[in-house]
Assembly symmetry: D2
């Protein structure tokens, strides 16, 4: 089971143009500051936030209880010109979890309902569960794209790959986020090695771009992401002979009553 928190700035759109449209560089600064802060605050408890649409964010929050969510919600209220709503859900797959969380949020009213403020609710239950994250990057993007194509052309290619990855991962109930450079993170509880490889083959075939991924399985987002990073380093260091390296916190899994199947390990 993965635990997902859906975060939404309350009534943000109207605020950005009231009474007049606010300076765009300020809004970009404001949104990225919120993203920074949420990562610092959730990160203190092993969580990880993805910027998604900046006003609607998705976080992996296994092990993070309601009280901590409340504290983060208050800290935003105390330091920002707006408030945020958050709903939490757990499920076998990340897609299912964010779907449940969103539904609970929507029950409280519209994102642009000026009376709906600071929702904080749990869709089903909080879990410890486990988190499986794939950290994917493009093989030698520096040599093949960054150093030879224009900044925007490389950016375009990265977006092309991103959308295709989003599409493919969705088939397995997995999410896919861009995390900068040529890096993607896919919260993908339950996926097996063959499934990742199949996706990468498709990308290779369609775009002639080769991907590799470290995959980490741990008790929360921080541990999973860290294991994924180490896996990626294993591939880069050619200490494994394929483009996938799955690492798992064995101690953790010995001691828990497994929730959610883990393929291919």
């Amino acid at each position: 089971m993965i635990q997902i928190t859906v975060i939404q700035i309350d009534n943000y759109g109207p605020w950005t143009v009231t009474p007049n449209p606010r300076r765009e560089s300020d809004l970009q600064a404001l949104q990225s500051k919120l993203y920074e802060d949420l990562n610092l605050m959730f990160g203190m408890y092993g969580g990880l936030v993805f910027y998604t649409r900046f006003d609607n964010l998705i976080a992996i929050t296994n092990g993070i209880n309601l009280e901590i969510h409340k504290k983060i919600q208050e800290s935003v209220r105390n330091r920002y010109p707006f408030t945020i709503s958050m709903t939490i859900a757990s499920a076998e797959t990340p897609y299912e979890a964010q779907l449940l969380a969103t539904k609970t949020l929507q029950e409280y009213g519209s994102a642009q309902d000026s009376n709906r403020r600071e929702v904080l609710d749990i869709a089903n239950e909080l879990v410890d569960g486990y988190v499986q994250i794939a950290h994917i990057d493009i093989n030698n993007i520096t040599g093949t794209l960054t150093d030879v194509c224009s900044t925007y052309d490389t950016y375009f290619k990265v977006n092309m790959v991103k959308l295709k990855l989003m599409e493919e991962f969705l088939k397995y109930g997995a999410l896919l986020f861009f995390i900068g450079g040529d890096n993607f993170m896919a919260p993908s509880n339950g996926m097996g090695e063959e499934e990742y490889l199949k996706i990468f083959d498709k990308i290779k075939m369609d775009y002639n771009i080769e991907l590799k991924a470290g995959i980490g399985i741990g008790k929360n987002a921080e541990e999973a992401a860290n294991l994924a990073d180490i896996g990626l380093e294993e591939i880069r260091g050619k200490r494994v002979d394929k483009n996938i390296c799955i690492l798992k916190n064995e101690n953790f899994f010995k001691n828990i009553n497994k929730k959610g199947k883990i393929y291919g390990i």
Copy 2:
């Protein structure tokens, strides 16, 4: 003529995993802080930065001279664990300008060359020129997507539209960036009303998603973005009868020796 600055974190990839992979929530916080700061600093001089790949960013910098660029470069050096390189170019179209700027940067060495630090150069010339920006959003996304679909499904649709917009704008030498929510900004010097409408028709046909855009033409990114925002408000307020509203700083254009043609106005 639009002036574009290409910004690149020096040798960033290797740093993120040296000596060990750094915590992902910290890296996300760090990257978004840089983005925030660059917008605040360039914003103080009417510039606007797009996060692009976070380690490679694109900024509109008409009217911003080399000395100010140097100051921003130093400020990053003084406050971050890394340094940045910046190259500046001007051209009729944003695509051409970023291409020239990237080429100049690449001449100094690889993005992952540990000896290449703090490049600061001008590809051709600094210009005042003018900036044309389209601020595009999705009609009633709150009612049709945010409030009824899951957070990730809405995000997926927005990415789908984004990639298609990137593809279409590229045909006119224009760039397209996501700026949060359901909003996109297209630096698009030289494009005419019909061309925007043609793109929006294609999106409508392909995805059944309706777009509108305020288009601002001004002396720098801030002014253009502000006029674009006002244009968008005009459409929302139904004070214009189509999905496009172009606003131009007439005083500015009366007084300058126009560089670059401006269609459709």
Copy 3:
């Protein structure tokens, strides 16, 4: 017992002038960002940081273990151009605790020893203990100073009061920090009501400035500061008839084996 963490930027002074003196506005921005971050990160676990000398900071960290300190230390390493050292100690009084923590830090070498990096150590032991904080402010500073004297003259008076408070509190092993406006916070485990009043009388006599204080006693800095704030509101609301209001988390104290005497309650 109060737990204090002493935080020191490693070899900061030399860095600020290497190879040339860095822009002062950047250094001020950098230092205040560090202070912001430390408060956000320690704050997530009920801690509270005082800026002190900005490169040497003092934090109240009851209930915060070594692992969390390590995480904060790493997060600074990951996002700043410098690293920090931290040592932790507990004692009956805040003064004694910071003294022990400092001694442990000094044993590792000089603040300007370029080989001493990222010290993390515990002087004696980590405790849950309790925290007693006085939140002091100046009666009607807005009417008597801010709105009638010059900004700097008010600032001067506040500094005069501050130094005298520091001097007086020190006699009881208590620390005193300025927290903005006309507000001071005194971590002051073990002090009794009469002792605070005696200090305020002295200030009244010497400077004709009247002080009041909410005093909170709780399981950590957050709880103590919150109770102190509520106490201050009680005085402002004239729901108590003197300039001191002590509030204590009774439930917490019922259940713990008290360490350190608590006077006057």
Copy 4:
């Protein structure tokens, strides 16, 4: 003539306790973020801000016009849960300038008047003028205090020196701010070498603490602070044989019609 801007958060005190006292770690984070931002934004135009009381700040703003002030004021409104007021004045001495600026601010109403928002006004006139800044530090504080005394005892001594310096500088119409570590900055237009030395002698006599100072005279705060820093490095490098080193941008002064006498140079 020095130009000073007085910055005040509008109605801040009441906000911090409405509807309930806000978490102190959040308030500290918020205040230091504002200080960071103001330094980045004013710093982009050669200005320098001192944190003063955090809700009342003093900035040196020679060469910074009303439009830029307005932009900064808007940027705060766009990104913070509060607004700021700013008034600007110029005078022969920093003290006189901040006094005039404060008076203008006070004419608009109380700091805690909920109807007084976003004042922006000029007390007399904006000037280019010049800025004289002394950057003062304590000789060998690391060896004599930081590495041998407790963190708080060193902090106490620094505060003692600070208050005395404030008192002494005030006699010359100069201001004195702590800027971290063992560093102070004194905006001190018009003071001569002998006057600084006299103050340092007094400190030496009273507290047995030796001070030194680089003094910079330039067209704005950035240039003056930079020259002061270089002067301090000259003393540290024993390239001058006393504890004072005054550096002046000669080119600048050749070309301007001097306003305000400059002693001792």
